[in-house]
Symmetry: C2
Subunit: 419 residues, 2 copies
């Protein structure tokens, strides 16, 4: 009764398209590149051959293609192993393609550049309250910031291979922001408003800019920052609203329309406080930033999100009773909602991100308590609740990283471009 078979036995396999002659090389380029990206230390061609099951001859040929395409480079400090000819270590190229991550949020604009190795090469942030600013003006400012980031990347010899814009709201497949409540946006057509800017011009038929929900990208950032391999977790970001990014078996689950992760309106008190969504007792009314601040006796409805979180963390650290009680209540409400998700999706990890990250020392215990109480399977395998490793603006980093991860997953597009 092998477990090996089980995990794939019952699930329907993914639909792979037709495999033509050239697909062979295409697939092996991806296999080898992914392996180089996932390796702990720079692997040798021989090691890759042993690991993938391909011949050393094939690996050599594939690696030659990758080096010619500036995706891979040979590491100088060759790893010594003992006798024999020393291996030449292979690493992802740090001077090849890079991803541009952008973010529009309530109180800041951000742009960052991430190279193929996942290193954040540049990170620009402009603080400003964008609620009173029109979408057009906000995007104009964002475009200027993007130009700055692009210039910095070019100075480093990097080539931008794509851009992703993080928005705190519901985004359509064509880049239309349906609704971003905390930003005051409704039906904002980002590509149209950016018309004329290089960001909006497709390259080789591929859109240069992808617009995506902030919580999804933050979860992706967390996925990439963690260890390689398939993992499943829920990434909860607490700002003014509460969003969740869902990673299942190592890939982001976006939902049928990309609108997954709306956890803020899970009812935690069906007969409870009315919510602006029309429902009652929604999580947001108990664990949202405003609710926590109010319960802690702080005014700060106008506080920037991260300021509010640090303020609360300071107070809690100092032992302020009202704050501690507010955080305990918020944690319990969050725990009720998260326990439902864990029961439903059988996750082994919950990550607290965004404004929750600095508050994790006080939020984790009640969340864990609710999970232990409500999750039947927690008795057999514990659920880890931990703060996010990425700090603020993790969505921009996640978006930028997704661009380069896409190249690692399907290098052919990039290789075709540079001939």
């Amino acid at each position: 009764m092998a477990a090996v078979w089980h995990c794939q036995a019952v699930t329907s396999a993914s639909t792979v398209g037709a495999v033509r002659q050239g697909s062979l090389r295409e697939l092996n380029l991806a296999v080898v590149l992914r392996r180089i990206a996932a390796a702990e230390r720079p692997p040798s061609r021989a090691g890759l051959a042993a690991g993938t099951g391909l011949t050393r001859a094939t690996v050599s040929a594939v690696v030659d293609d990758l080096i010619a395409g500036r995706l891979v480079a040979e590491a100088e400090p060759a790893p010594r192993t003992g006798a024999g000819r020393p291996a030449r270590g292979l690493v992802l190229a740090a001077d090849g393609p890079a991803g541009l991550g952008l973010e529009v949020n309530v109180d800041y604009l951000a742009a960052c550049v991430v190279d193929l190795t996942g290193t954040v090469r540049h990170h620009l942030v402009r603080r400003a309250d964008l609620r009173p600013v029109s979408p057009t003006d906000a995007l104009t400012r964002l475009a200027a910031l993007a130009d700055e980031a692009r210039a910095a990347a070019v100075r480093d010899g990097l080539t931008l291979a794509g851009a992703v814009l993080a928005v705190p709201g519901l985004v359509d497949d064509d880049g239309l922001v349906r609704l971003a409540p905390n930003l005051g946006w409704r039906d904002v057509d980002v590509p149209a408003l950016l018309a004329g800017h290089p960001l909006a011009e497709p390259v080789d038929g591929v859109p240069a800019l992808v617009v995506e929900n902030e919580a999804n990208l933050a979860a992706l950032g967390e996925l990439y920052a963690g260890p390689a391999g398939p993992r499943s977790f829920l990434h909860v970001t607490g700002e003014i609203g509460i969003g969740a990014g869902i990673v299942l078996d190592g890939s982001l689950y976006r939902g049928t329309r990309g609108w997954s992760g709306e956890i803020g309106h899970v009812p935690v008190q069906p007969q409870g406080r009315p919510c602006r969504c029309g429902g009652q007792g929604c999580l947001e009314r108990y664990a949202g930033q405003e609710a926590i601040l109010a319960a802690a006796g702080l005014p700060g409805a106008e506080l920037p999100a991260d300021t509010a979180a640090t303020r609360l963390a300071d107070l809690a650290g100092a032992g302020d009773a009202a704050t501690l009680s507010a955080l305990a209540d918020a944690g319990t409400a969050l725990g009720v909602a998260v326990a439902g998700v864990v029961n439903l999706l059988d996750l082994d990890t919950v990550v607290l991100g965004g404004g929750y990250a600095p508050l994790a020392p006080w939020l984790c215990p009640p969340v864990v308590a609710e999970i232990s109480r409500r999750v039947l399977t927690a008795a057999w395998s514990p659920v880890t609740v931990r703060p996010a490793v990425l700090g603020a603006q993790s969505a921009a980093v996640g978006g930028a990283t997704s661009v380069v991860r896409r190249i690692v997953d399907r290098p052919t597009g990039w290789l075709a471009r540079t001939g």
Copy 2:
């Protein structure tokens, strides 16, 4: 800003293993076979070539292999199209491999045989209250039923390619039933108890029997019974407990340990009725069979699940006030829980299965009402709530079908066996 890129842009690609020389043929066998399986009417070799992008020559060679392996047959009534040489239609072979689906439930044992085309060729059901029966005895009776089904399959010229056992409980990867509360099972090692029976003997290193949760298999059955192509839905089965199977992008999501779908203990009333799980106000206490029966003023705690459901449907159809009120309340509770799931996963369909299916006329309206009230995105794209198309014992059918679907998805294993 093409939508095409978007849907895969941000998600991490699936990990494909190394692609060796022979993998090309292996992959194309799967591509062509899947295409034949998914086609509305028997496709021709030329049509397959046009659809897959492969050459007619390649398709011919691949189809020859498939016919030699008894997976595909030529359909007699050649589909006429007009001028030109008539095409020879290709269909899945009805006399090749078949899957055996088994089910142990509270009040029946079931076994069914499904051939490659998805047709249920045999379906045996033994009604009996299995709660007082020991796991050993239950599995012995099941083995006898399986032998009967196998004999019937052999008489039809079918070859059983695998078996799946559906159990209403939590199953480990190695076939250990951790907990099946309504059956009274705890830590039942199914493979060990079946030792000696052909079911427990691995063939070619692949386990002959896979044990899986009933709700997951019912959802798979619903997936296979519906139209082809990736779909995402939640399949809720209401029996004594409430389980859910989650299908995302056309494949079953099993969770990190295969324990996904525990929706029965989502809190719908946090300060509400205590539950045997230790929590409070769980869905099961409001929309479970016992709760509905009690609210309708019926005694029948000992009623078999399907009997109870039909009884309730009869009463509701006759206009019994208590029953209508009980169903409305249960529907509302179910709607609260389901709305949370739809918000979280952005699903476009919810299927009511098991005991809920006959009650759908009365349950759907309150469920839809709660979804409209609580799902923000429902304004842009409606959520369909509908009863399951498969009737009772859908888990056994789903399990049996998963065996043959696996062959369609990866035909190489089967082809290697028959030389």
